[in-house]
Amino acid sequence: MNKHIFLQQLEHELKGIPAVERADVIHDYEEHFMFAIEAGKSEEEIASALGSPSQIAKELLANYHVKRATVSTSAGSIIRATWAVIGLSFFNLVIVLGPAVGVAGVIVAGWASALALVLSPLLVIVNAVVHPSTFLLFDLFFSLATCGLGIFLGMGMLYVSKLGKNASISYLKYNVSLVKGGLKHD
């Protein structure tokens, strides 16, 4: 692999990051090639010592998305960061995807339950309109109670979601800080 192919491949794999940052990364590696060529090495030697451009790109992408998830609060940014960290290695597919699905499941289930509980009086009213003969006042009071319960659960879920987000980011950061396939001899 020569300099041109190495840089082209790296640039191609870094499509997901902003152009300014990508250009800066490419510049670092161009600089590396220039100094190494000055030191008398061939382009092929330099490229092979650098390692695989796609592995380098994965590291950079994981760093980028974890950084984004730290400053942004959207669920999308956490999903992208999780995905990028999973991309680092097959090993991560197991140790990152498993907990991610678990945490996401708990959060989604919690919010769904809270929503169902909060909306239950509405269902009683709809039922009363459709089948007025089956209406019981007890149902309405009971559903108001579950509505209150739903509001409490919702408040709890706000806290749980925040906790889940922070824990996910810490765990992703920890995974990024492990060397995966970065060594020449395994």
Binding site: A36, G51, Q55, I56, N63
Partner: protein, 107 residues
């Protein structure tokens, strides 16, 4: 060699080389790869991450020969972090060395 060891070791290597003077990327990569067998390309993402975490600042400097160089300078925050890492590393290394010594002597 086990690839699951912490990148923290490489972070420590990079940080410690910048403690006394600023260096440019290629210089750091050459120094590390002369001691540790590692894909040279994986140092740059570490430099980038540590710069993002405000452990380094960077500046470009023209050189008398060849292209301009991107220098890395350790910040105060980076220096504090470095000293933490050195303490951790020394405790870790002396623990392992002690166990090796005991293990070898018992044979």
């Amino acid at each position: 060699m086990n690839v699951q060891f912490k990148k923290g070791v490489l972070e420590l290597c990079v940080l410690v080389m910048l403690d006394k003077k600023d260096r440019y990327g290629y210089e750091l990569v050459q120094k590390i790869s002369s001691q540790i067998e590692i894909s040279e390309g994986s140092i740059y993402p570490i430099l980038r991450r540590l710069t993002n975490d405000e452990y380094f600042t960077t500046y470009l400097q023209e050189s008398t020969e060849g292209p301009s160089r991107k220098y890395y300078r350790l910040t105060d925050k980076g220096r504090t972090y470095l000293y933490e890492l050195i303490t951790e590393w020394n405790e870790f290394a002396s623990g392992v060395n002690q166990l090796i010594k005991e293990g070898v002597n018992n044979e």
